[in-house]
Amino acid sequence: MATSHQASGIQAGRLAAPEIADNFGDLHPAYDAHEAAVAADRCYFCYDAPCMTACPTSIDIPQFIREIQAGHPASAAKTILDQNILGGMCARVCPTETLCEEACVREAAEGKPVEIGRLQRFATDVLMARDEHPFSRAPSTGKKVAVAGAGPAGLSAAHRLAMLGHDVVVYDAKSKAGGLNEFGIAAYKSTEDFAAREVDWLLKIGGITMQYGKKLGEDLSLETLKADYDAVFLSIGLAGVNALRAAGEDMDGVRDAVDFIEELRQADDLTKLPVGRNVVVIGGGMTAVDAAVQSKLLGAENVTIAYRRGRDAMGASRFEQDLAASKGVTLMFNVMPKAILGEGAAAEIELEYTDVHDGRVTGTGETLRLAADQVYKAIGQTLEGQPAELELEDRKIMVDATGRTSVANVWAGGDCASGGEDLTVTAVAEGRDAAMDIHSTLMG
């Protein structure tokens, strides 16, 4: 028998296996061919389409939708993957509601955009199901490039470099590739082990060697990489987590949301994954929503997102906020954590109401307490373990428009690099563009 919602403390098995399976199914189920045809027919084939401009990887969206309309989704997939080699994952995780679909003229016309994300998934699923890789490598250039970090930016750069004829070695601190695709996003956005399957598919290009358990700064040094390779691309992500700076932060039951999500993503059996009865998530971004919703889906009775600013400032999109609300998560705005209370383990959290003036958050002095046997910290990640010789900008590795760092022959992209939003799709674009710049630099 499953432990109930009401069982106090952090418990596994709050829900039975069928309910868990149902809860963690696809957030946006795949279109079948008929649904895709109906959805594709809605595209107006806009001139200089706003959706394409809104896409960080500039996928030719009208073109790929037209290819679906005309009955050749595999060419549609090629159109997508030409620009975005992780087009399959981006179709699942992109906040399309603030990117292509927000820009869709049918959003203006009817408040219902063409469902670009789901069409992209349809096309890429068709191609990936064929189990063949649509790209081939150019003749070998004899050049070697090291990539540190096998997340979206690193994989995107590696694929592009391999395609251009370079030999690539990708190092990653973990034992698996994928970065946040594999460890960091909600399970219902990447079902059936999609992140890992996509990596396997991507590597079919050839010319990419994966080296796991190699962490930059511990097992590798930038000096060695520079000496051994013609170019280096750094995509090490943001390994650090911001502290709450609230009393009781080190109590049992207080945890980084990213660790929880990683454990959840790697768990073989979600009925064995413990979750609190009363969960409070501190933060306002996608990680906060992913942690809160998944806590609820695991069977937590009460889940609250506590965010210190107003709704409009929230990093998570309105769609994500509504998703959380629809799953029964309570959204609280203008509250910040003051103390976590309990006898050794968290039992309550004290929140203070806030005012925001000129962007600065101050406490009003009024407080409230919520039951909280589990508190997740989702207040942002920080750059950690970067080579000391690199110049930083806004606490990230400083790069120019094509990803060049302050050190010769070293490029960087993804969340660890300055500029751009911290999104999978942005990381893919940065990896691709850096690869093109590395290529032209190496080939003179």
Binding site: A37, R42, C46, Y47, D48, P50, V105, A108, A109
Partner: protein, 434 residues
């Protein structure tokens, strides 16, 4: 509620919506369902001579083209005339007409081009009590290879001859159904009139290959690896049918010849358009075959609402009203000047007007960096392409430039005088304006 009762050749029906001779009217069962749904009349599917009936293929008979969301726009068929015996059809027609005296029942006929064949069948048809006959001179496939259908309809002399036989051996109205597979529909229409025909109906289906199966490398519908040309109908053919109806309606020799219009009628508005062009009623097939007999209900309510709004009390009030406004190109007013205007409140910034104008027309639309689209009056020739490609109805309109104002494109003041090509200085055969 306007009265839709329509009299065509003296045949009364409660509304002007008849089902055309086609699969929907092949049997008593279907026709009874049609009348229960509200159809004003039917043209019974074409009867052939006594004796063993024709046979149809046993593979697919229809092919189609589709618009967005698989909306059927055009249907093609290779079905022949009725494949049931003459006797059964005649019995059924008799029963149905008796049970539905207020509905029009017309019998379509196609027999060989010999006087005896017509002399044999016509008294039997007359005995059913049906209100009239329609001569199938249209079917472009199958029967034409046997010297019937379109093979007759393409030769005006044959049309006249057969029509004369029918008038000789049949006492009730004779409607001659015309094929569009000719160069000038006025010739067969005149032949029908000269033969004594009471009316024409048009168009029959258009010869077509609707699709090619690229795996079998054969036309669709594909029967055992081969296909043949079939008859095309449905919304896609309506413009062709309307032109042919209008040509007959405005021809001095045939303008008084009643017309039953056929070709893609799907809603009340299609019917109103055909009738404005001179048709006394309309016949429908593809809409019924696509959506079932209940489509007539919208046709009835829609036409009735529109007539109420316009103050028409009878279909006679608007039949033919558009005919005087159908003219030849050379009489169009060249002093009429218009410019496209984009309503910025309605515009969704898709840019299709810009792509169409910039790539394929007159470079008369400006696109700003923030996707605001505006018409350049000094380039716009009012071609209307932007209106047609805009996905938002009414967003782009054609605005007349009133007389006395400057046309920025030509630098001339718009004249209030009518002037056409016949008097234009660029026309080598121009005649002096009166």
């Amino acid at each position: 509620m306007a009265d839709l009762t329509t009299e065509f050749l003296g045949i009364k029906s409660p509304n002007p919506f008849w089902l055309a001779s086609a699969p929907p009217t092949d049997k008593e069962y279907n026709v009874r369902r049609a009348f229960e749904a509200g159809w004003g009349g039917v043209v019974w599917k074409t009867l052939g001579s006594e004796g063993p009936p024709v046979v149809n293929v046993n593979g697919p008979r229809y092919g189609a083209i589709f618009g967005a969301d698989r909306r059927l726009l055009g249907l093609n068929n290779i079905e022949l005339i009725t494949d049931r015996s003459l006797e059964i059809n005649l019995e059924e027609i008799t029963r149905v007409k008796k049970d539905y005296p207020d509905r029009a029942v017309i019998v379509s006929i196609m027999v060989p081009c010999e006087e005896q064949a017509w002399k044999d069948i016509l008294p039997k048809v007359e005995a059913t009590g049906a209100d009239g006959i329609e001569l199938n001179f249209g079917c472009p496939h199958g029967m034409a290879e046997r010297g019937m259908g379109a093979a007759v309809g393409q030769v005006p002399e044959y049309i006249q001859m057969v029509t004369e036989w029918c008038k000789k051996y049949y006492s009730k109205p004779v409607i001659v159904k015309l094929t569009p597979n000719i160069t000038d529909v006025r010739f067969p229409a005149r032949a029908a009139k000269n033969g004594g025909g009471d009316a024409v109906s048009l168009i029959n289906t258009i010869n077509s290959i609707v699709a090619v199966d690229l795996d079998q490398m054969a036309p669709e519908p594909t029967v055992g690896g081969k296909g043949t040309h079939g008859g095309y109908c449905g919304p896609a053919v309506k413009p062709i049918a309307m032109n042919m109806v209008a040509e007959i309606a405005r021809c001095p020799q045939t303008h008084d010849l009643p017309i039953s219009a056929i070709g893609g009628v799907t809603t009340w508005k299609d019917a109103a358009e055909f009738m404005a062009l001179g048709a006394g009623n309309v016949q429908v097939c593809t809409a019924a075959m696509t959506y079932g007999f209940n489509v007539v209900k919208e046709m009835i309510s829609g036409l009735s609402n529109w007539m109420d709004e316009k103050g028409y009390t009878s279909t006679q009030d608007f039949i033919g009203m558009a005919v005087p406004n159908v003219t030849d190109w050379q009489y169009l007013d060249l002093n009429f000047i218009a410019k496209a205007k984009i309503n910025q409140d309605d515009c969704i910034s898709c840019g299709r007007c810009f792509a169409a104008c910039e790539d394929t027309s007159h470079q008369a639309i400006e696109m700003s960096a923030d996707r605001v689209f505006t018409v350049k009056d000094d380039e716009c020739v009012a071609c209307n392409l932007c209106v047609n490609v805009c996905p938002i109805e009414g967003c782009i309109t054609m605005e007349e430039v009133p007389a006395g104002q400057l046309d920025e494109r030509t630098g001339k003041v718009v004249s209030d005088e009518y002037a056409n090509w016949t008097t234009h200085p660029n026309n080598p055969s121009a005649t002096a304006a009166e």
